[in-house]
Structure formats: C-alpha cells, structure tokens
Amino acid sequence: MRKFNALSLQQKVWLTITAFLMLAVLLLYAVAVYIYENIYITNVEQRLLQEGMNIAAKYKGGALTDSFRNTVSIINDISDTEIVLVNNPRELSACLPFEVDHHSVISEQERQRLLAGETVTKKGYEQTFDRHIVGIIIPLLDEHRLMGILYLYVPLASIEEVIARMQTFVALGGILFLFITIFVGRKIAMHLTKPLQHMQQAAYRVSQGDFSVQVEVETEDEVGQLAKAFNQMAHALAKEDERKKEFLANVSHELRTPLSYVKGYSEALLDGVVKDEAQQKKYMKLIHREASRMQRLVRDLLDLAQLEGTYPLVRTPFSIAQLIEETAEKYERMMQEKHVHLLLDLDHDLVVDGDPDRIEQVLQNLLDNALRYTPSGGNITVRTTKRDTMCELTIADCGQGMSKQDLERLGERFFRTDRSRSREHGGTGLGIAIVKQIVKLHGGFIHFESERGKGTTVYVQLPLYDAI
C-alpha cells in the first residue's frame, strides 16, 4: 500500500484501469467457461437421457431378451454415444451385503435410486471405463427387480478438447487485450493527469513570483474547472501584487514630498540662509504643516490597516441626525471661512445601529472631501432618509465633479482625481478607502454619483436599529 501511495497519480490511474480491465476479462472468461460447460454438459445429459429413454421404452419387463440385447447393440454401433447394457447382478451391486470384493458399475446408493425408478447422472472419472465421462444410467425395472441398466456415456475428453481449443483462443485474445489495455490505460491516464501536471508546473512558477502564467483549459470537467480557478487565482495574485507595488510607491511618494519640504526648509533655517524673522516663521510653519500631513497620513494608514483586519466595532443605537449636527458644528468655522453653506435635511427619528465614533469618521472624511472641492459660495447638502430597513445618508457638494473613469477608481488608496490639487488641499488620499471599509464593516452600502462641473453626491446606507 505504501508503495502504491508512492506512485504518481498517472501511474495509479494507469494501474487501476489496467487491473480492473484485466479482472473484468478474467471474470468474463470464468463466466463464459462456466456457462459453456454447463450448457454443453446439460445438453449432453439431455441427449443421453432422451436416447436412453427411447431404448428403455423397448424393454417390456421380465428377463432381458436376446432381441433387446441386439437392439441395444445395433443402436450402440450407429450412435456416437457409448451404450452399455449391464445385467450382471454383481455389477449392479446386488451382492453388496456380502461384502463382495469387487468394484461394481453402480454403487449401493445408485442402486437404491435406480430401484426407486430414478435415473443417475454421472460426471467425472469412472473406474469402470477408466476415463472421464458424462453419463446417464437408466434402470430396467420389472416391478421391484432391477433386471439391468442402460449405461449411456460420452467420454469427457471431447468436451475438454473443445474447452482447450477455446482456452488457446481466449489466452491469445487475452494477451492481445492485455497489451491494448496497457496502452489504452496509459493514454487515458496521461489524458487525465496532463492538465494536473501543467498546473503543478504553473503553481511552481507562481510560487516563484511569476503571476503571468496561465494554464490551458482543455476540458469542461472538474480538472478544467480547476484549471479555470487556477487561472483566476493567478490573475488575482497578479492584480494584488500590482496593487501592493502601487501602494508602496504611493506611500513612499506621499511621504517623500513632505519629507523633502521638511528637509529643505530646515536646512535653509540651519544654514542661516533665511535671516528675516518673518520668513523664518513662515518656514517653520511650512515644516509644521508638512509634519502634520505626515502624521495624518500615518494615522490614516494605521486606521485603514486596522479596518481591513478584524476591527471590533462598538455598536450602539444612536441618532444619526444628532451625530451629523454635532459634526457639522465642528465645520462651522471652516465653512464660514470658505463661504460655503451647509444645508441639513435630517430625519430626527432615524436611529442607526453602529459605532458612532466610526460613523463620525465617515462623516468627517466625506465632509472634508466635500468642503475641499466645493468652491467659495457653494453649498453642501447633508440629508438623511429612511429606505426600508436602512438609513440613507446623502452628502452632495457642488464641486468640480469627476469623470466616470475616476468614479470607478474612487476608494482606491491614494487615488486622487487631481493629485497636485488634492495635496494642496491637504488630503491623504485614504479617506474614501477608510469610509468604504467602515461602511462595509457596518453591513451598509456606499455609492457615488458625479458629473463633471456639477459636483459629487455620496450615498451611504447604514442599518437602522429598529430593523434589527
């Protein structure tokens, strides 16, 4: 068994197919021989019985006459069957109680059956004739007297010859079939295992970092499905790898810019290039601003990493309208500075089941974005409505909007519709990604609608407490 397990799948399939086919052939052969032998011998027995009965019908009781003997003798001469008429009492086991030291043609048991009028069938070696036979013994009865027997037999050798001839044919056929079986079995096994081998090689290449590999899908069966799944996996891995690279590039890029600001301004200050105190202060402010940006960036990255892991939400029922109002208050000064109007259309009856701190983060990120892109004198509208079991929160701005392509990429890390402008506006490029993750954790939905020049609307659906 251990040896079998050590074999390759192809060898196992090959061996199994070959073994089963050979077993089937052997069984078929055994059944064929059995049926043949039975049918043949049964046929012979029936023929002998019929022939014997026809002869026995000529016996009319009493002592066996010469005429009857002659009849039997003539039939014996012209028939293929050996027909023996026995009437010697000793051969008929008549003397048996006296323990006669003589092998009779029939045994005591057979004599009893013949006396009862039954016929006796013989098959196998018969000492009387010193050969293998198939025979029938028919009693010649005169009431209770066994006057004689008709022993009809056919030498079994002829039957065995037929079987022997068949055996040669079957043996030759069997050997030929065996070779075909081995060949076909190997082909089938190869056909079945070839895609698996390809997949194994492909998997190895993937493990070595080559995600471009693709397995050829030749069939629609389980192996074909596996190949398809493998290709999808390789594709997903390639995509993920790309995203990872992009992410790293983004992170380093995002950090490099503020770092170079900090490094440049601080060097200028240290070198004493800037003598003017007002100028020095301005440089210090710039260094501070860039340090803050890096701090925000690191904080957002940490948040996102946590949210993408197993972040535990502290869910509690809370009034979404109240939370919006409280958050809006924090933006009041900034709005006034930028001359942006915040319009609230809130349903105070809606109680959301969620983590208020995280939802506040959602609101802040979305309002930050809205405020960032809304021009001076513009409006931001925040609305809450009930949609079946959900609370729909809508934040609409009247900013520059974005293209369809950009809309699709919204939520990707460090994606900005306008990189330079965004950095200028102070965003980290992770806000929407964080929002999406929080909404997802709450079991809610988010989608964006936007049109260039007309602004962007964000729709966030959160589960209502009543619905639970």
């Binding site: 000793r90 003397c95 109680p97 006296f98 003589h102 209770h144 066994l146």
Partner: protein, 323 residues
C-alpha cells in the same frame, strides 16, 4: 432445586444404562423373524395371521440372528459389530452382551455351545451360551458360514474369499481337511442321506455363479455341479427336496437330492437373500422390495406377501410352544 436436578440426572443415567426393552414376543405364538439390515431392525410376524407383530428398532449393524435351543433366546451379531447381544423374545429384554472381535459372519448354535465364525480373524470360536470362549479353531482365510454334520462328527466351514471348505473334527476341534470350491461361497448344506455337501455362492470377480457345487462329506472332493442360475446363496432341505434360492435371477428351485434333477422352479421376489422353512411354507426375504414372500413348499406358489422393514437380509422361524 439442586436435589431435583440430581434426581433428574440419576433418572437419566439409570435409563441410559438400562438395556432397551422391546415388544415381547409371546412364547405361545409361532413367529417369523426378519433382520432388516438397511434400517437395522428386527421384524416379527405372526405366522398364522401373517401380520406384523412387532418391530425392534435395534439401531445396530446386525446381519443375522441365531435362535438358541430354548427357542426363546436370540443372539444378534454383525460383521461390523464388536459385540454379540442376547435377547429373550418372551420379555423383549436384553439378557446379555459380550465383546467379540469385529468380523463375525455366522454362528452355529448346537445343543451345548455356540460356534462363532470370524471372517476377519480367520477363526471359529467355541463359546458357551453366555459368551465364554472355550476353544478357538484357526481355519483357512475368510471363513464365512458353518454347518454341522453330526453323522460324520464334523463341522464344515465355507470360506468366502478363496472359495474353500474346511472340515473340522468335532472331537479334536481341529481342521482335518480343506478343499477348494467355488469363489465367494456363502452357504453349505449337509445332505446326510447322500453324504453330500451342497455349496452355493456368488462366483468370483465378473464371473457369475451358475451352479451349485456338490462335494463329498467324506473326503471333500467335488462330486457334481448342479445348474442353478444365478448366484445360489441359500439352501433348505425337506424330506423330498432341496430348495435353492438364487438372488441373481430371483429364482427358487427344488431339486431331487439323489438325482440332483430340478423338480420345480419359480421366480420369487426382488434380489432375495434368505429363506427359511415355515411348516409347509417357505418364507423368503426379498431384499430390494422390502417384503417377506411366503410360498407353498410343494408347488412353490406364492401364498402371501408381507411388507417388512427396509432391507430384509435374514429370516428365521420360531414355532409356538406346545402345551
């Protein structure tokens, strides 16, 4: 509970030790007894009514039964039995059993003793009626049957395998002469008036015996061959004739003892093995048809056929006790 069990056990043991009791055969009845070897039983028929009186299911491989001179005791034995058993007919009880060597084929009961022929041992043992061996006579191989010749003070033993006759002197209890005869001989008949011994049997090998061999009682030489087809295996003598039963041809013949000419012939039964004289009838055991056939001793015509047990092989007659 334990006491009850013990009592039960004792009863079982006692019953198993107690010899089997069979249906008693009234001493006042004339009966014909038949040994059925296939079913290993004894059948008793009332001679007068020819009806079955009783069957003793002995379940022992007995081949023959010998009636003792008291006419109430039978001794049962068989070639494959290592004991001989005596039963009293009038009580149906076993009276004695004693060990013997396997191979007992014939027993001759004289007035005083039993002569037990053992084919396997090649001996004739002289025993008392209760089984004590007083003398053992060694004979030629395969002794099969024994007959008494009082006139010449000798016992004659018929040998089965080698086809021989041994003459044993009653006085010296030694074999005085052994002569050849037909093969597979099974029976001898002493014909006193002619000083002849008629010998019958199966014949050797594939040869089927077609004649009775007649030997001299005086010197053992063969005097004549009497045609009797086929396989004469049983003889009887009456005043006028000798009866010869042939199992190979199912024939019963009568011969004149002096002229040895056939008087009468009749085919009887199916594979008949044994016969006995029953008053003015002869009872013949028809082995294959499991019947007892009665024939008139003069005409040989069948008078009655009575079904008996399976495989009737030996038959004997016990007359009623006269008051």
């Amino acid at each position: 509970m334990r006491i009850r069990l013990s009592i039960l056990l004792i009863i079982v043991l006692l019953t198993s030790c107690t010899p089997q009791t069979y249906t008693p055969i009234n001493r006042e009845q004339a009966v014909v007894g038949v040994v059925n070897i296939k079913e290993q039983s004894l059948s008793f028929l009332d001679y007068n009514t020819k009806k079955l009186l009783a069957t003793w299911p002995l379940k022992q491989p007995i081949t023959k039964a010998v009636l003792l001179p008291d006419e109430d005791t039978i001794i049962l034995f068989g070639q494959d039995m290592d004991e001989m058993i005596a039963y009293t007919l009038s009580t149906g009880k076993e009276t004695k059993r004693w060990s013997v060597h396997k191979g007992v084929t014939d027993v001759l009961a004289t007035e005083r003793e039993l002569l037990v022929v053992n084919e396997k041992k090649g001996t004739v043992s002289i025993m008392t009626f209760d089984g004590k061996v007083t003398d053992t006579i060694h004979t030629a191989p395969s002794p099969f049957a024994i007959v008494e010749d009082d006139k010449h003070r000798q016992w004659i033993v018929i040998h089965f395998k080698d086809g021989a006759i041994s003459f044993i002197d009653q006085a010296t209890k030694r074999v005085k002469r052994t002569v050849d005869t037909l093969d597979s001989a099974v029976i001898g008949l002493v014909v006193t008036e002619t000083d002849e011994l008629w010998v019958g049997g199966h014949g050797g090998g594939a040869n089927v015996q077609q004649e009775v061999f007649v030997h001299s009682l005086v010197d053992g030489r063969m005097i004549a061959r009497v045609p009797a087809k086929t396989m004469p295996i049983q003889f009887l003598q009456s005043d006028q004739s000798i009866y010869v039963l042939c199992h190979g041809s199912n024939m019963l013949y009568t011969f004149n003892p002096k002229t040895k000419r056939m008087i009468n012939a009749r085919d009887i039964g199916a594979n008949p093995f044994a016969m006995t004289k029953v008053k003015d009838e002869i009872a013949i055991a028809s082995y294959d048809s499991n019947e007892l056939v009665f024939v008139d001793d003069k005409t040989l015509k069948q008078t009655k056929t009575v079904p008996v047990g399976n495989g009737p092989f030996y038959v004997f007659f016990r007359d009623a006790k006269e008051e």
